[in-house]
């Protein structure tokens, strides 16, 4: 075996091993969801899904409110994404291109806001939500999630805007663009891959968020999937196969969103490689 093919073999093995580590929990979740209660706690665990258990996925939709929760989660995640990107792109542009007093402090402040743990903010935010009548609304969740994602998104977008040649903006200025037109017509399309990447981050934050969703929303109909899922874990009994089936259903939309967004991220990376 030549050293080249040996190295390639090692490389493939390492990738497969890592893939196995990453994918195994999902596979285990799938197998467990398709295992009968009796078998779940058997001494020899099942390694292959029992397809005769597939109707549990139908049953989950009829016996739980998972459909409503997923819609709520989707609204919160999509809202967080749209709001985060819309709010972040202007400060990101300003931090990248404009010179103003307190610019360094602002950048530092954005970082500092990330250092506060979410739980610490639950009580003050609760008070604010009461005042603004945002308790028990999805809008409230979108707002509070965006507050956490915006600083991260600003820094990601700033990095991308930094890499757009200033000459392009100057050319646009000469061609008759205002600042906002430059941002929307020239800069935004050029940083689209980064916007897609930032969207993934914002979406997943909104999709996975648990503490605020649990604290600020109490109506059954407004519950998000993360809270709903946790609701299955009882003090005395936990229907493992139902929890796992719901878990799989909960994971699928997120993976789909990631796969769609990821295509743009990769396409952008290759098209940006050649300077236009």
């Amino acid at each position: 075996m030549t050293s080249g093919s040996w190295r390639q073999g090692m490389h493939i093995s390492a990738v497969l091993a890592l893939l196995g580590v990453a994918a195994f929990p999902i596979y285990w979740m799938l197998v467990t969801s398709l295992t009968s209660s009796a078998e779940t706690f058997a001494d020899a665990p099942r390694l292959v899904p029992d397809l005769s258990q597939l109707p549990i996925y139908n049953a989950v939709f009829s016996t739980t409110q998972i459909g409503v929760w997923l819609v709520n989660s989707a609204i919160v995640a999509a809202g967080t994404t749209v709001l985060s990107i819309s709010l972040a792109i202007l400060p990101a542009y300003a931090l990248s291109r404009l010179q103003f007093r307190g610019k360094g402090l602002l950048g530092l402040g954005l970082f500092a806001s990330q250092m506060l743990p979410e739980v610490m903010l639950v009580v003050p935010l609760y008070a604010i939500f009461v005042t603004l009548a945002l308790l028990d609304t999805l809008m409230g969740l979108i707002l509070v999630n965006s507050a956490f994602t915006v600083p991260v998104v600003i820094w990601i977008l700033k990095g991308a805007i930094d890499s757009v040649p200033v000459e392009l903006e100057e050319a646009a200025r000469v061609d008759g663009c205002s600042r906002i037109e430059i941002l929307l017509l020239i800069v935004a399309p050029l940083i689209a891959p980064t916007i897609a990447a930032a969207s993934v981050i914002a979406f997943f934050h909104g999709w996975n968020e648990y503490v605020f969703a649990l604290t600020f929303v109490s109506s059954e109909g407004l519950r998000t999937a993360s809270v709903g899922l946790a609701g299955f874990v009882g003090e005395l009994i936990t229907p493992i196969e139902t929890v796992m089936a719901v878990g799989i259903i909960y994971t699928l939309p997120a993976i789909t969103f990631y796969l769609v967004a990821q295509r743009y991220v990769v396409a952008g990376m290759t098209s940006g490689a050649v300077k236009g």
Partner: protein, 387 residues
């Protein structure tokens, strides 16, 4: 088209003054070349004209209109960038049509879907589509209108950048070293194309370059800058034949003008011990100045003669460069006839001789001078001495 007037233009970056009190009058239809080495402020000056930099002091007029307070888009000037600055996500046609699209752009064009439809309609309107097609035809880009800039060669990108400038039919074209990213052959072609464009459009062009060949071949006027100061402003011929100081003399011409240390005294004009007979015009100037001087002689005004010629400079051949049609012979003058080049430390002059030079290194030769075109500078200040 319009004339441009720069009046006492100054630009400071903090405590550094990049442009110092520049006054220029560019006549309607001129092709002005801003020439100078890197960091001389020529690009800054161009950017101030375009409105991409503010001015610290002074005023800029386009015709009778003062424009230094206006944003770039209201100056009716098009700018061609060194890096082309084509929008990578727009096709060639969209790049060329973009300035026209912006004339009709409304805020609601930003609304998704609705805005896209509106933009498409504007881009396909007869007025814009015809302008783009016409411009593309002039520049030979008709076949490439749907391609993205990254699929084009350097020369083609350059043409797209020119097209984006032309389509607006601006009063003034500003170009910042547009050919510097091209290879030598393409540069020569594009040089001719831009000159032809200027002739056809009859517009006012302001062109920045550090390449004196571009300046001499393209410009109808040249402004030579150094350290933010205007050294000389005139036609290429004036700059070449009548340089205002040793800097201009040394910058223009390849090889550059020889500057030979000399002095006028009561018994005549001498280079070292050798007495030189000057034309009347130069003699009068030398007499008037009565100080150490630098005699400026172009390499092609020097002739190689026999070593025993009287009243000729003596020297040794130290380098022979064959350029093809001619040869550049570097001659180190004998110690007594000290000469100087731009840096005033060398003792070598350059002679251009036609054809292939057979001279061997180390040969002792004499150098005779045709002084009809020679000029005289003060050795102290470097300024031109005139009669």
């Amino acid at each position: 088209m319009a004339s441009i007037k720069l009046s006492h233009i100054t630009k400071s970056f903090g405590s550094v003054t990049a442009i110092k009190d520049i006054n220029l009058d560019v006549v309607d239809g001129d092709f002005l070349v801003l020439l100078g080495p890197s960091g001389c402020g020529k690009s800054t000056l161009l950017r101030m004209l375009a409105g991409l930099e503010t001015i610290s002091d002074g005023a800029i007029y386009l015709g009778d209109r003062r424009i230094d307070g206006l944003p770039p888009s209201e100056r009716d000037m098009a700018f061609v960038f060194q890096s082309y600055a084509l929008y990578p996500h727009k096709s060639v046609g969209e790049n060329i049509g973009f300035p026209l699209l912006m004339r009709y752009f409304r805020w609601w064009f930003h609304i998704p879907i609705l805005g896209t439809i509106a933009k498409r309609r504007v881009e396909r309107s007869p007025e814009i589509a015809q302008s783009v097609t016409r411009t593309a035809k002039i520049l030979g880009l008709t076949e490439m209108l749907d391609r993205l800039p990254r699929t084009l060669s350097g020369g083609q990108r350059q043409r797209v950048a020119l097209g984006r400038a032309m389509v607006r039919q601006p009063e003034v074209f500003l170009m910042d070293e547009p050919l510097s990213n091209l290879d030598a052959k393409l540069r020569t072609t594009m040089r001719a194309e831009i000159t032809k464009l200027h002739r056809d459009l009859k517009g006012t062009f302001v062109y920045v370059t550090h390449d004196q060949v571009e300046a001499m071949t393209m410009g109808t006027k040249i402004a030579l800058l150094r350290d933010g100061q205007l050294q000389q402003f005139g036609t290429p011929r004036e700059i070449y034949e009548d340089p205002a100081n040793t800097y201009v003399a040394g910058f223009i011409g390849v090889p550059s003008m020889n500057l030979i240390r000399s002095r006028y005294s009561d018994d005549g004009f001498r280079i070292g011990p050798v007495k030189i007979t000057l034309p009347n015009r130069l003699m009068a100037a030398a007499r008037k100045a009565n100080c150490p001087t630098l005699l400026g002689v172009r390499p092609n005004a020097l002739r190689i003669g026999r070593s025993d010629e009287p009243h000729a400079l003596q020297g040794t051949v130290v380098l022979v460069e064959q350029v093809g049609a001619e040869s550049n012979v570097s001659v180190e003058l004998t110690a007594d006839a000290t000469s100087v080049e731009q840096d005033q430390s060398s003792n070598t002059i350059i002679i251009t001789t036609p054809g292939y030079s057979e001279l061997e290194l180390g040969t002792l030769i004499s150098v005779s001078m045709d002084l009809e075109q020679a000029v005289l500078f003060s050795a102290k200040t470097g300024e031109r001495i005139r009669a």
